[in-house]
């Protein structure tokens, strides 16, 4: 009793730099999970969980590693982060692994990270690109669409998803008329939209972020009348896009990681109550990342990364009772009582192979200015 009064968790994300507008919401999501656990008073016999934020700049490997090293010196017991794949790799190789620290990234999707010798220390709650590419192909094929134009945000997530999708789609007999990158945060996307339009295609697949270049592309495409329907992968699905684009988005569809339960809806509610955007990309994943760490600690009965690291997969996967956002207290209790849980969370977490998420997907469609779930895959 009382042997663990305080558990510090690092939330190391790019609060400045290219995805600064996402990082704040992500951190809020992770902190939500932590305060939920603290309030429950159930973790390791009543420990409080204290979040410690540090910046990666998203693009600054050296800054990210220094900050991670600093937090480790401050005595954190786990890391939610990093965000961009580049810095995540650097943090992992140069700090986390040498120090034996557990790191759960909510957003780094680079397949290259799969192959790192991570000693059971690195996990991701972001779904794998390969799986999403297949799901997206199914969605399109079921709707009878066989020719698409494709644009992706020029980073490992966008590129990875685009590659995976193109392979799957073409294998299924579809045609990708053009696959072209867009840079986030640029001033103007007329050239990209011009090219996408000229190449033709029944619909435009936008593998980007809903408040970055992806939004810019959709706006410009609608404005010029180049496309009026879009396929929206996970990074593009969220309330803000419907708000920002308006009625013109009606009829667009896509998919986002999420299971039969209403994890994502719960996240939205939590976000509304907590004053942040629960639908912002990777916010549910961040909540889940934090939750997994704490649940694993509970399952291992220890806050030592060496002890709880190996438990992460078991709390994330079946068998056990399904756990959704807002139910962490329940989960902690079950674990304390020696039961088993299957954490689902806001992003339908399912860890496969080398610690990656392979969840189910929720197919969505925009109807009357709102995102509606039309099925699961």
């Amino acid at each position: 009793e009382g042997h663990a009064e305080e558990v510090k968790l690092g939330i190391i994300l790019g609060y400045t730099g290219p995805i600064e507008s996402l990082a704040g919401h992500m951190a809020d999501g992770a902190e939500e999970a932590m305060s939920e656990v603290t309030e429950s008073g159930l973790l390791l016999g009543g420990a409080t969980v204290t979040p410690v934020r540090a910046d990666t700049g998203c693009i600054d490997n050296a800054l990210a590693t220094s900050n991670t090293e600093r937090l480790i010196a401050e005595g954190i017991s786990g890391i939610v982060g990093g965000d961009c794949s580049g810095v995540t790799g650097a943090m992992l190789q140069n700090v986390a692994i040498p120090n034996g620290m557990v790191m759960v990234s909510p957003s780094a999707t680079s397949p290259a990270l799969t192959t790192v010798e991570d000693n059971d220390l690195f996990f991701r709650t972001a779904p794998s690109d390969a799986r999403e590419g297949e799901v997206m192909t199914e969605v399109l094929m079921d709707r009878g669409i066989e020719s698409v134009a494709l644009t992706y945000t020029n980073n490992d997530y966008g590129k990875g998803l685009a590659d995976a999708f193109q392979t799957a789609f073409e294998a299924a007999g579809g045609e990708v008329t053009i696959s072209t990158a867009h840079e986030d945060g640029k001033a103007d996307y007329s050239a990209e939209v011009g090219a996408l339009s000229a190449a033709g295609g029944d619909i435009l697949v936008v593998a980007g972020y809903l408040d970055q270049g992806g939004l810019g592309i959709i706006r410009a495409a609608l404005d010029t009348g180049a496309y009026d329907q879009f396929v929206l992968p996970g990074g593009m699905v969220g309330d803000s896009i419907v708000e920002n684009v308006g009625a013109d988005l009606n009829g667009s569809f896509g998919q986002i990681a999420g299971s039969g339960g209403d994890g994502a809806a719960k996240m939205t509610e939590l976000g509304e109550a907590g004053g942040y955007d629960g639908t912002s990309p990777y916010t549910p994943e961040s909540y889940d990342a934090a939750a997994l760490i704490m649940l694993a600690m509970q399952a291992a009965g220890s806050m030592d990364p060496a002890d709880y690291g190996p438990m992460i997969t078991s709390v994330a996967n079946a068998p056990g009772e399904e756990i959704y956002p807002g139910e962490l207290a329940k989960a902690l209790q079950i674990l304390a009582d020696g039961g088993e849980i299957d954490y689902v969370g806001g992003s339908a977490v399912e860890l496969i192979g080398p610690g990656e998420s392979a969840g189910t997907y929720r197919e969505i469609e925009v109807k009357d200015g709102a995102i509606e779930t039309v099925g699961f895959r």
């Binding site: 600054d60 490997n61 900050n67 794949s85 580049g86 692994i97 290259a112 990270l113 000693n119 966008g158």
Partner: protein
């Protein structure tokens, strides 16, 4: 004197960091500080000594990083078989086109010159487009999630450091030949643009550098921590010092880097000082002061500019290779001008442009600030906002803004240093 004092101050900052935040953090900051100092030295050579306003530092640093991949990663044999030689052929064709075009431009009779050159370029471009894309696609198709690029030469990564310098020097030669005639501000924006083009190539030419998919796991010149932790001898020695294996191993790895980097920095510094104090340095200063007069006094201004542009860029390339080695990965998406060009400039100017010791000091000091401002700023903000009612909008804004303190502080430091020591902390002479 002031210089010695400032160096002591920087030393104290690093030691203080070690005492407060752990020696791992301190060494990490010092290592990157040393790399930054080398970059600052390169920029200082170009700006402080020759007056060349190069804000394309990022591009040369990135080329250094590319060198680390090309030299040290294992070659992807399937990719070579699939389309590697076709790419080599395509590149050769491109190079041949350029050479032929230049030849026609220089040698052809006047009436044929323009059209001949245009024809050669178009023909070359068409041929190139016939050969290159096929090879690229074939290479990129080889296990795109894992490799999808040609790989490197599989040589020891230390070789990549001079190679990075050479690669950057080569690029600098081409750039210098075309752009060095431009006036200060114009040269600046041209180099800025060229750096962006280099990054665009790294991001989009997957066959070369895996593009935005990143290359990770670049070999190290020093042992891996986990290896050390598994080595009984090492563990025993560490325990002899009263250190846990984890701490000892990570400290030892960082110290090894520190020694390597410090050695490079010292060699460069000695060479740079010797050059600066020689008649060569005097000539460069004369050129900086008045190009027309220097030219009339028999100095080959263009040639000298090219020389120092190449030297400075090579140093940046060297530092870039070192940095990529330290990171263990090449991530083209991380190269942003704010971080890799402007921050280096801040180092040079704050340290004292024209003075090599100033540039080195600026490099380490500003890097320390860059990392430490956030915790300091967060602490300051929490003190300030503690007095505010909980959950108030202002408090929320302030706390959310903590990471931006870094920009604020960098800005203020820059403004104040330039206000009270306009020629930098250790001014030229």
């Amino acid at each position: 004197m002031r210089g010695v004092g400032l160096y002591l101050l920087v030393g104290a900052l690093i030691v203080g960091t070690g005492l407060m935040q752990g020696w791992n953090t301190a060494l990490l900051i010092l290592n990157m500080g040393l790399v930054s100092a080398i970059m600052a030295l390169g920029v200082n050579l170009q700006w402080g000594i020759a007056g060349l306003f190069n804000i394309g530092v990022m591009g040369f640093v990135a080329l250094g990083g590319l060198a680390a991949v090309i030299v040290s990663m294992p070659p992807t044999t399937e990719a070579w078989a699939a389309g590697g030689w076709q790419i080599v052929g395509g590149l050769a064709m491109g190079a041949a086109t350029v050479v032929a075009a230049v030849f026609v431009w220089k040698r052809a009779p006047a009436q044929w010159r323009i059209w001949g050159t245009v024809a050669v370029v178009i023909a070359g471009f068409v041929l190139y487009r016939q050969v290159m894309p096929g090879g690229m696609a074939a290479v990129e198709a080889v296990n795109p999630a894992g490799t999808g690029y040609l790989g490197g030469l599989g040589l020891p990564v230390l070789i990549a450091w001079p190679a990075g310098g050479l690669l950057a020097a080569g690029a600098a030669w081409i750039i210098g030949k075309t752009a060095l005639g431009l006036r200060a501000d114009y040269l600046a924006i041209a180099t800025l643009g060229i750096a962006e083009i280099i990054i665009a190539v790294l991001k989009n030419e997957d066959w070369l550098s895996r593009g935005v998919k990143n290359v990770i796991g670049i070999p190290r010149p020093v042992p891996y921590e986990v290896e050390l932790q598994a080595n009984p001898d090492f563990v025993a020695t560490a325990e002899g010092f009263g250190l846990t294996p984890i701490l000892a191993s990570s400290l030892w790895v960082k110290l090894s880097y520190t020694m390597l980097f410090a050695a490079v920095l010292i060699v460069l510094l000695v060479l740079a000082q010797a050059a600066l104090k020689s008649p060569w340095g005097r000539m460069m200063r004369a050129i900086r002061d008045n190009e027309v007069a220097a030219e009339a006094m028999g100095k080959d201004v263009k040639g000298r500019h090219l020389q120092i542009f190449i030297l400075g860029s090579a140093i940046c390339g060297l530092a870039g290779a070192m940095m990529t080695t330290l990171d263990g990965q090449l991530t083209p998406g991380t190269y942003q001008p704010l971080r890799f060009t402007f921050l280096i400039w801040v180092m040079v100017i704050v340290g004292g442009s024209g003075n090599n010791f100033g540039a080195v000091l600026g490099g380490i000091l500003i890097w320390w600030l860059w990392v430490q401002v956030e915790p300091i700023g967060g602490w300051l903000l929490s003190v300030v906002s503690a007095g505010l009612p909980d959950g108030s909008l202002v408090q929320e804004r302030l706390l959310a803004g903590a990471p931006h303190m870094r920009y604020l502080t960098m800005g203020l430091v820059l403004i104040f240093v330039l206000r009270f020591a306009p020629r930098g902390l250790i001014p030229e002479r």
